[in-house]
Amino acid sequence: MSTLIAIQEGPFSVDTLQAEVKKTSKGIGALVSFTGTGRDLSKGVDIKGLDFEHYPGMAEKKLMDIRKRALLNFDIIEMAIIHRVGHIDIGEDIVLIVAASAHRNDAFMACEWAITELKRTTPIWKSETTATGDVWVTDTP
């Protein structure tokens, strides 16, 4: 299970995580993945880079909790979540969620729910580097 939930500094691979998820069942017919990446623009302001901080321990716990609730509330077979912390350049990946199910509809719903839930409940904070300095982001869509 531990490889399915991670907070890490380095980059991740969608192929690797999907392979990890697929190991859990031969009944998987659909994998939906969400990858969040660093954009060059946020509310009209040029962004030069991002930095993420998390509450070690609690953030991992909240991600495990999202996985557990997704498995309970959606007809999915497995879910995995990786969130990076530390410095992220524009264009780099930040977060990855993989949802696996027999039929695609369930994986789409669970994956979309999970990223919304992650933003709502996981103690992770982003600071954006702009021309005028670093700013902690306090409102996320």
Binding site: G36, F52, E53, H54, Y55, G57, M58, A59, K61, H83, I94, V95, I115, L118, K119, R120, T121, T122, P123, I124, W125, K126, S127, W136, V137, T138, D139, T140
Partner: protein, 82 residues
């Protein structure tokens, strides 16, 4: 001892990542906030704004929850992960 941990902009506002408080008996989260505001006036505004969540031992806690010796309290500004 209650350990209070500060994150993101609160770490910057408070000027520290963590602070310890000696309590003779359990106090509520609200009482702890009062104590923090007296100790660090820079935090007054955000602690009153309700945008800051509080965790006790890594679980979200409401204002009326009790905090006791040995507990770890987190002061959590609005999340922006993902």
């Amino acid at each position: 001892m209650i350990e209070v941990r500060f994150f993101a902009m609160l770490k910057k506002l408070s000027g520290t990542g963590a602070r310890q408080y000696e309590v003779s008996e359990p106090i509520t989260v609200l009482e702890l906030k009062q104590l923090l505001k007296e100790d660090m006036p820079a935090l007054s505004e955000v602690l009153d704004s309700r945008s800051v969540l509080v965790s006790v031992n890594e679980e979200f806690a409401r204002d009326d929850e009790l905090v006791a010796d040995g507990d770890v309290v987190g002061l959590l500004p609005p999340f922006s992960g993902g």
